[in-house]
């Protein structure tokens, strides 16, 4: 075991997979010699050269489509969007081609492709560099969506993503990139569709996504001082979504809060709330609560930006409300 940052862990995963399989290549803006806007590919260009670390013109739709075609004939592309916001120009390709070609070919084609990019609000990145988008992607059959929160999960899930024959979105909140954590020396993979109980507790369950896992853990530390015991679940993959782990927890605690930085309407939190209520109705001692990012484009000024996302204080407040129900 070593302590690595989230970014180092994903770079290790990528390097190992590129060494393992010569069909794996990365495409994006500034991922060649420059090593990626977020350092996703530092040092790899020297090792693998320009065909496998391909700097592109500013054509997000274009290289999304190109990589989809590349994946159909034996390539295993990792598309690096830098900021996930830029994926939007490629939505047509992703929804109508990438996500559908396995099905439309009746399983005779596979689609081994990974899309990665930074998500999330923070650092005054402002409205064009702060999006989340995962519920939109999770709404599309044929796609997998991964939102890891720790270096350990990031490495194991990225390796699974690169080896998967399905299209996978691997989304990295900009605030988790520097988070440190233990990572085994030996190789490991983490399967999709298994939520992690990141903290055990008995009074209520909180499901938190991505960076919100860390914010939630902070509020739990505070609440623990008052003897409040919270169970925290990180779904890790949004599609497939492991509601069994959530249901098991709710059976124990009777209460559920979902903490998500992304907008509320038609969100992952709505889906979780709907499913857990449907299947765990009798276990619930109170209606499920959700807290989400404010329903507004993301503003720039620090006091405005801070006002649009949940933080440890607002999460703790919500937990107390939930317990009082």
């Amino acid at each position: 075991m070593r302590e690595l940052t989230f970014s180092t862990a994903t770079r290790e995963a990528l390097t190992e997979e590129m060494e393992r399989d010569p069909a794996v290549f990365v495409m994006g803006e500034g991922i060649g010699e420059r090593g990626g806007n977020w350092g996703t590919t530092v040092g790899l260009f020297e090792r693998f050269g320009p065909m496998r670390l391909r700097d592109t013109p500013i054509v997000e739709r274009g290289f999304t489509g190109l990589c989809t075609g590349a994946a159909l004939v034996g390539g295993r592309p990792v598309v690096d969007f830098m900021f996930l916001d830029f994926l939007l120009d490629g939505m047509g390709e992703i929804i109508n081609q990438t996500a559908k070609l396995q099905y439309m070919s009746n399983g005779r084609l596979t689609m081994p492709i990974v899309f990665r990019g930074c998500i999330g609000v923070g650092h005054s990145a402002a409205t064009h560099h702060s999006g989340n988008y995962y519920p939109m992607l999770a709404h599309v059959p044929g796609l997998r969506v991964v939102v890891p929160s720790s270096p350990y999960d990031a490495k194991g899930l990225l390796k699974t993503a690169i080896r998967s024959n399905d299209p996978v979105f691997f989304l990295e909140h900009k605030s988790v990139l520097g988070v440190k954590g233990q990572v085994p020396d030996d190789e490991y993979l983490i399967p999709f569709g298994e939520a992690a109980v990141v903290r055990e507790g008995r009074d209520a369950t909180v499901v938190a996504i991505g960076w919100m896992v860390h914010q939630t853990l902070k509020s739990c530390d505070e609440l623990a001082k008052d003897g409040v015991s919270i169970e925290v679940i990180d779904p890790r993959t949004i599609s497939p979504l492991d509601t069994d782990t959530m249901l098991a927890s709710v059976k124990k605690t009777g209460r559920l809060l979902i903490v998500d930085e992304d907008y509320g309407p038609c969100s992952v939190g709505a889906e979780i709330a709907a499913q857990v209520t449907a299947k765990g109705f009798d276990d619930l001692d109170a209606p499920i609560m959700r807290i989400n990012g404010a329903f507004t484009p993301v503003p720039y000024a620090p006091p405005l930006e801070a006002a649009v996302v949940p933080n440890p204080t607002s999460i703790a407040l919500a937990i107390r409300d939930l317990l009082a129900e």
Binding site: R61, V73, P77, Y103, S105, S164
Partner: protein
């Protein structure tokens, strides 16, 4: 415009081009009738009049080369080796179809013969084909990828982004624009201030030619050189094949108002099939009887395909969720 070179093709190669074009034409005519009778539940865009392009291009390809096609993709599918049976069954929505009934006319898949898909959306074929070429180059193979698309795709961003990437990375890909002069009812001249698509393509710095798309020998020759370049690692080529569809945009749609009956008539007279037929006879390469025999064989093959499609079973609704994911 590239002129038709005196051909170096053998008689049997010429006859096979002829057979393929006739096969496409007869299949389309059957499909049109089937659509009228209600046997085809979805849309049906025929390739009638444009047969020379798919035929001339695909005759240069190996089975492991790949093509990406459009909403008007029946001709490409047949030219790459899909059987009339498997294609017709697909349009009839049967489990014996190339896509097992999941696709219909605009979603034909037969990776076994290198048909990587037709598309209901205009544009993607260009990007997907460029991507397959990227993998071919990455893995050090000499396989070739082909994008077919219409004049309507030329103004779309996919054209711009795709052709440029093919050019700057010297990928083994052919860009085949089937310029039939209209996108549905919209004349190319009304959406472009430049007349030739090839001129637009030249801005990306790749070899780019105008070809008579109703002359299968001209298409074949131009494609042969393009495939040679691609296989040799010399990069992509752009071919604008000037042509015309002589039926309506899609079966059941009106075909008046936006073009004159005379224009349609004129192009019917320039049928690529008639052109090759006359050439074969006048050059004494094949006697009329032999051509008639080919035509009769194709007729029988297509009749059989229709029977096959009609009598094939429907897909089982219980399988509807299969293959959304790979595992």
């Amino acid at each position: 415009m590239l002129s038709a070179p005196s051909t170096s093709l053998s008689t049997s190669e010429l006859l096979s081009l002829y057979r393929k074009m006739v096969q496409i034409r007869r299949t389309e005519e059957q499909l049109a009738r089937a659509h009228q009778s209600g046997a085809i539940p979805g849309a049906c865009h025929t390739y009638v009049g444009e047969e020379a392009i798919a035929t001339g291009v695909c005759a240069n390809l190996r089975a492991d080369d790949v093509i990406f096609s459009t909403h008007r993709g029946h001709g490409h599918a047949l030219a790459k080796g899909v059987t009339p049976r498997a294609m017709m069954a697909e349009l009839f929505g049967r489990v014996t179809g190339v896509s097992a009934g999941r696709g219909g006319s605009m979603h034909l898949f037969s990776p076994e013969v290198g048909l990587m898909g037709t598309s209901g959306v205009v544009g993607p074929s260009i990007l997907l084909a460029t991507g397959a070429a990227y993998t071919f180059k990455l893995l050090g193979t000499d396989r070739v990828s082909v994008a077919f698309f219409g004049d309507g795709a030329v103004n779309n961003g996919a054209f711009h982004e795709g052709v440029n990437m093919g050019a700057i990375w010297d990928l083994p890909v052919l860009y085949i624009c089937e310029n039939n002069q209209y996108a549905t009812e919209v004349p190319f001249a009304s959406v472009s201030k430049t007349t030739d698509v090839a001129e637009r393509a030249r801005a990306y710095g790749l070899p780019s030619y105008v070809v008579d798309g109703n002359d299968v020998l001209a298409v074949h020759a131009a494609a042969a050189e393009a495939v040679r370049r691609a296989r040799a690692g010399e990069g992509p080529t752009f071919l604008e094949c000037k042509t015309y569809r002589t039926r309506s945009h899609s079966e059941g749609m009106r075909d008046a108002g936006y073009r004159t009956a005379e224009e349609v008539e004129e192009w019917k007279n320039r049928s690529p099939i008639t052109k090759l037929r006359e050439y074969l006879i006048s050059e004494r390469l094949a006697p009329e009887e032999e051509l008639a025999r080919v035509e009769a064989e194709v007729e029988a093959e297509v009749d059989d395909a229709r029977q096959f499609a009609t009598s094939s079973p429907w897909p089982d609704p219980a399988t509807v969720l299969d293959h959304v994911y790979s595992a």
